[in-house]
């Protein structure tokens, strides 16, 4: 154990030192090499090189770990399982004919509709209610807390909630215990098609509502007082105030929150792997991809094709983000 701690400490030290040495060293070399002479054009040259020393490592990592792999994955998706032969669109043809893939797409669509919507609505509700409540701060902290919990940890927590003991036995899962207390029959929830997917989605809703609450809460505080006061003077009810004045003003933020959670949903993996591993028709794209990557000797062609499907589904959001950034910058 102590040996392990030492090697971890040394590893940590080496990794961090390497980065510090690079930045300090490369700038020092630049300064000593080129500053010997005081001629102006040397100064210009130096300041032309320095930005690349600053941004260089970031560009290297982004290129190697995010940009290049997208193209490589696209390339691999046109190849066979061990990437030795070009197969054209065969992986995609197989994919679209595969029943499991259809099931998976359906599930992902369901996740995509339910999770972002429910999280956003609940998050907005908590943000509004907490603003008017004495113990609002505590309430917000509690709803926010699952954000710190890993998907696997959350899966253990909820698997215990959904736990099923045979009929007639004492139910130690709280969901079945409540159902039995009201005279219902306990169920092995995770095996009931469609309902089981919804129960998995609730885990992510439980985690993401806090995120929606925080962002929407900030947006609510940004709504100008004057617009609210004017409406109150005109005799608007609380309901009208919220739906006609407040909600339209925070709508852009609502959309941002919805899309942010939607992107997360497209990549959901841990929850499904830990809860059912795709059994009982709960499969989702990210888990299906992982499955193919390591199934048997690993089918890199099919795995890559599934990854490309995920990639394609985020492209519209990506384009929208870049468009908005360029518009913002132009407006400065």
């Amino acid at each position: 154990m102590t040996e392990q701690i030492y090697s971890a400490l040394i590893a940590i030290l080496v990794g961090v030192t390497a980065v510090v040495v690079y930045f300090w060293g490369s700038n020092w070399i630049l300064d000593t090499l080129i500053s010997r002479s005081s001629r102006d054009n040397k100064e210009v040259l130096r300041e032309k090189i320095r930005p690349w020393l600053f941004a260089g490592p970031a560009i290297f990592f982004l290129t190697l770990y995010l940009v290049y792999p997208v193209f490589e994955t696209l390339w691999l998706s046109f190849h066979n399982s061990d990437s030795s032969a070009f197969v054209g669109l065969a992986n995609y043809e197989w994919l679209f004919a595969d029943r499991e893939f259809h099931q998976t797409l359906q599930n992902n669509l369901l996740w995509l509709i339910i999770v972002p919507t429910l999280s956003t609505v609940l998050g907005l509700a908590v943000a509004v209610l907490a603003d008017r409540s004495k113990f609002g701060t505590v309430a917000k902290s509690i709803v926010f807390m699952p954000m710190a919990i890993s998907f696997v940890g959350a899966s253990v927590i909820w698997k215990f909630v959904y736990h099923y003991n045979g009929e007639g036995d004492i139910q130690i899962g709280i969901l079945n215990a409540v159902i039995v207390a009201f005279g219902g029959e306990p169920q092995f929830w995770l095996s009931i098609t469609t309902w089981n997917s919804v129960l998995l989605m609730l885990i992510l809703v439980w985690i993401q509502t806090g995120f929606a609450m925080v962002i929407l809460g900030a947006a609510l505080r940004g709504v100008p007082e004057e617009t609210l006061e004017a409406a109150i003077i005109d005799g608007a009810s609380r309901r009208q105030l919220f739906f006609r004045i407040t909600l339209p003003q925070i709508m852009p933020t609502v959309i941002v929150v919805w899309t942010t959670i939607a992107i997360l949903v497209l990549k959901v993996f841990d929850i499904v792997l830990a809860m059912t591993n795709g059994q009982w028709e709960t499969q989702v794209l990210a888990n299906l991809m992982y499955d193919w990557m390591f199934r048997g000797a690993g089918d890199f062609g099919r795995g890559s094709a599934i990854a490309i499907i995920i990639m394609i589904s985020v492209i519209p959001i990506m384009a929208w983000n870049i468009y908005r950034f360029r518009k913002d910058e132009a407006g400065r």
């Binding site: 990794g15 941004a55 290049y68 990506m318």
Partner: protein, 383 residues
């Protein structure tokens, strides 16, 4: 807002909020309470009953027949119900004649056994075994009964999961993954963010637009190529393709877009005059960055550090792909997932293991919530 309105909506709002909060808290509470319960009690009753005394069914033996006394009632064996370990039972709630009917009679009453002998067990655990004939045999007679076990909590599950469940080792492995995978991208991103906000170079806008595009690239597209790259490089240079360095670098790559984005937005909001005047005084960009910008950017650095820490600590996918799943490299999330597979119904192992895996992030999260929220808002409202 109008106070004159009926108080009913206000009451309704309060109740709805309380209901939501309770709903949110219950699952985690269940995990925590279960993790400190005795494992038999945990399997036998719901965690919400943990604070009540629970009823346990067991049996004990009377004193050996050699100790029987002859009285005017007959042959009597009397004494106190005691476990094999020598603990006495004191809160008897029921007793019976056979193992199938351990709760047939109230304490203090007398029942007739199959062989015609009489048995009385009192609430305080004293018993009297009565027979007309001399009691035979060498061992004491068995008495079946139920007793109330007062609510009892224990750290035994934690002891067990840390040493036998591999969670202790996994905790250290997770630290070894998380610390460098948090510090390295923070440093790299801080320098890059400065370049993107205050240095002039060709293609700056274009590159930053690319960073924004990369914010949403799913890491699924990176897995297969990197896995192949790592194993090719490993074969070429003769090192193990799965290891800590590879995971640090992967987390660095995946965390950079958000890090650069957050810090660049923050640094852009710092006053430009400050940088200009320092530059005019002859300070290089390196000096300006280290002496002025970095100290001023602490809030943004803190925000991202918390993000990245939580993300890496809680990650399962990257760790499963790029780390070995043996004892020396497996992280908490992967270990927990393995336990879900192999010890799926041993809730004492799962609950205590899960709690260990979530405790550090929870502490960091609650201690630094302010920074976390600030970063979250900065990262979303604009992006």
């Amino acid at each position: 807002m109008s106070v004159s309105k009926s108080k009913l909506p206000g009451f309704f709002n309060g109740t709805a909020l309380i209901a939501l909060v309770i709903l949110w808290l219950i699952p985690t509470l269940g995990l925590f309470v279960s993790s400190i319960r005795d494992k038999d009690a945990l399997a036998a009753s719901g965690w919400w009953t943990a604070f009540n005394a629970s009823t346990q069914v067991t049996f004990a033996r009377t004193a050996a027949p050699s100790e029987q006394v002859q009285t005017d009632k007959g042959y009597v064996l009397a004494g106190q119900l005691t476990s094999n370990e020598g603990d006495t039972y004191t809160n008897i709630v029921a007793f019976g004649s056979t193992s199938n009917t351990p709760q047939e009679a109230e304490p203090g009453s007398q029942i007739t056994l199959k062989n015609g002998d009489l048995l009385q067990v009192n609430a305080d655990g004293s018993y009297e075994y009565l027979s007309d004939e001399p009691i035979k045999g060498s061992r004491g007679k068995r008495i079946f009964f139920a007793y109330a076990q007062p609510a009892e909590f224990t750290l035994e599950n934690y002891d067990n999961v840390i040493s036998n469940g591999g969670i202790g080792q996994a905790f250290l492995n997770t630290l070894a993954v998380t610390i460098p995978a948090t510090v390295i991208p923070v440093l790299i991103a801080a320098f890059a963010a400065y370049a993107f906000s205050w240095m002039r170079f060709a293609g700056r806008e274009w590159l930053f637009a690319a960073v924004i595009g990369l914010l949403v690239v799913p890491l699924q597209t990176s897995l297969v190529p990197l896995l192949r790259l790592y194993s090719d490089l490993g074969q070429m240079f003769g090192f193990e393709s799965k290891g800590y360095v590879g995971v640090w670098m992967a987390h660095t790559g995946f965390g950079l877009p958000l890090a650069i984005y957050l810090m660049r937005n923050y640094m852009r909001s710092l006053p430009g005059d400050l940088i200009e005047s320092a530059r005019v005084d002859g300070a290089s960009h390196f000096q300006v960055f280290v002496r002025i910008i970095l100290p001023l950017s602490i809030p943004a650095l803190a925000s991202f550090t918390i993000f990245q820490f939580l993300w890496v600590w809680n990650d399962l996918l990257v760790a499963m792909v790029f780390l070995g799943q043996g004892e020396d490299q497996i992280v908490l999330t992967a270990q927990l997932r393995a336990l879900l597979g192999t010890r799926g119904s041993n809730w004492e192992v799962l609950t205590s293991g899960a709690f260990i895996s979530i405790i550090l992030p929870l502490v960091v999260f609650f201690a630094l919530q302010r920074f976390f929220v600030r970063g979250l808002v900065a990262g979303s409202v604009k992006g």
